[in-house]
Symmetry: C2
DNA sequence: TTGTAAGCGTTATCAC
DNA sequence: GTGATAACGCTTACAA
């Protein structure tokens, strides 16, 4: 591990080991057609010299970088960060590095920008976060430029090698079941924004369960949000002005649910006595707000790790999993409705 | 912008322009010793061909990558993400990319790991987030391996080219002034963890202001936290058991302040009527919790942008700034104390 | 002011 | 199985 002066190159290894540099290269790249003897010898020289292949040179020769890109346009900071952590779990102690790249899905040049980015940086692979992960054109683009990709979503968007997903719909159904089990019948929903697959899955899970229970969902019980805190306030104001008032609200994410709690407080509606609320994401705010919020948690970090492994180490056991079950996290924002 | 088949290389540009590739290289690198004529001609050919220099080849020849690293071990997710956004503001539309790398400051191998990372990836520069930004050995290491660095901190840690800082101490002083102005005299503090410069600055700002006002701070009014939500709960429990009880708490960050609010609620202490709270960071939770929290906001994103510019474009005006003033953000968690 | 030749550290081709 | 030799696309001497 003598690292004095300059880092040793493949040439140094070749010279010391008395072989050609191509042979060393073969050892590095685990070529099968190499004699056991030679391999062992070279490996010992590599260890002795503390040689590490130069990623820049490899990138040039291979026309591909050892970088994993994270493309996102996700409104929820915590989701993005959790995802990053998961990716890093996967690439820790490898030669890979994580490059992050937020994009703007409303820009007409988004696809061109991404194409340039992928072509120039020659990423080894990219991870696509919702909602841009739902864009099939984008997936086709990755395919076209020869960049491996994995999409993350709320439902199966692609084949198992190109996707990790949670079972949002099912989970919302059981959240509704739980509310109904507590005695609620007037249940409203704050939906996520148009164009988000997750918003659609969650809405359909909600509607499906309500129908199954024979419960009606009047128009006024379906409010629209943007997945942001403030939109939760206005959506809840709308919902809470309905007559009769809903006794429970399912919100498509926690941030909006937190907004809904503010709106309720502003009207002196107490939670959970007068109004039950269930969110989605299990983000920190759900635990930190008062009262602590019952919500649906999904294993973002494990999903991210699996997604990254699908690219950097597809043979890994953990890379096989494609569907990750979410879970209802019970806290204190749900109670039985007050008797009328 | 005809990008059919292969991307054009410097050779294509040279051939079409009828010059040597070194001349093209000079244009790319803005060498001053080139005739205006030649430059313009080459630039037009570059535009016509849609040529973009290959970063991998540049990295190999220059022995330096066009990657900006973000090294962090920060307990606050939102801080990290805001910082990332700021860096991206700075490198948008450049050839640079952002590589993120969390580290473990408790690991004895941290410095070695970072050295390997910097040497192998040959980063163009790194951004250091608190608390590891406070580590002088780390700064020396960056210097040694020839990697530009900028540290972010709560006080001037280095010269202006290597640092962006906020004026935490001053701001905490004015937060205390504000509390005193509202009539509080029994003011407690939840401190940040040992070893954080920010924790120290904030504590000293607090103590300094209290002294200036001739107010005492009994031992029991100084609780210790870890910058995490749960530590805020236990710290506040300690504080709220004191006799007489403090009428106001300054918390070294918002997360702990949110924890303190939970602790107060659990004891039916109402905020702000019975207890005023001021946090620090202006993170989303401060705005989303109830009641909305008065806190000290610091411009993380602008600081991050300036930090990144110091590395990628030092001549930029925005790169010059080194001290970024924080500001008291007034919301609803502070009121005058109830008359005894 | 511009061009030539020699790298940078790796991998691919194709002989041996 | 292994090794010359030529890429990969750019930059840095050093000349001209």
């Amino acid at each position: 591990m003598a690292k004095q002066g300059k880092a040793p190159t493949i040439n140094d290894v070749a010279r010391v080991a008395g072989v050609s540099k191509k042979t060393v290269s073969r050892v590095i790249n685990r070529s099968p057609l190499i004699k056991q003897d030679t391999r062992e010898k070279i490996e010992s020289v590599i260890a002795e010299l503390g040689y590490v292949p130069n990623p820049q040179a490899r990138a040039l020769a291979l026309r591909r970088n050892f970088l994993i890109g994270l493309l996102h346009d996700n409104p929820n900071a915590q989701t993005v960060l959790n995802f990053q952590e998961g990716v890093l779990d996967a690439i820790r102690d490898t030669e890979f590095a994580l490059v992050v790249r937020p994009v703007d899905r409303h820009s007409p040049e988004m696809l061109d920008d991404i194409r340039n980015f992928l072509e120039q940086q020659r990423l080894y692979g990219v991870l696509l976060l919702p909602p841009i992960s739902e864009n099939d054109e984008l997936a086709a683009l990755c395919e076209e430029v020869g960049c491996a990709y994995v999409r993350m979503g709320s439902a199966a968007l692609d084949d198992d090698h190109h996707m990790v997903a949670s079972n949002d719909r099912e989970m919302v159904e059981s959240a509704v079941d739980y509310l109904v089990g507590q005695g609620h019948t007037r249940i409203a929903i704050i939906q996520g924004p148009e164009g988000f697959r997750s918003a659609k899955e969650r809405r359909e899970g909600f509607l499906g369960a309500m129908k199954r229970h024979g419960l009606e969902v009047p128009k006024g019980y379906m409010a629209q949000g943007t997945y942001r805190f403030n939109s939760g306030i206005s959506a809840a104001e709308e919902l809470l002005s309905q007559e009769p008032r809903p006794t429970a609200i399912f919100s498509s994410n926690d941030e909006m649910a937190a907004g809904a709690m503010h709106a309720a407080r502003a009207r002196a509606i107490s939670i959970p006595a007068d109004l039950s609320i269930i969110g989605f994401d299990d983000s920190p705010i759900a635990a930190h707000i008062w009262p602590p919020m019952t919500t649906v948690g999904w294993p973002i970090r494990q999903m991210a790790k699996a997604a990254a492994l699908k690219i950097v180490d597809p043979s890994n056991d953990e890379a096989e999993k494609a569907i990750f079950p979410a879970q209802l996290v019970h806290r204190s924002s749900v109670a039985s409705p007050a008797k009328d």
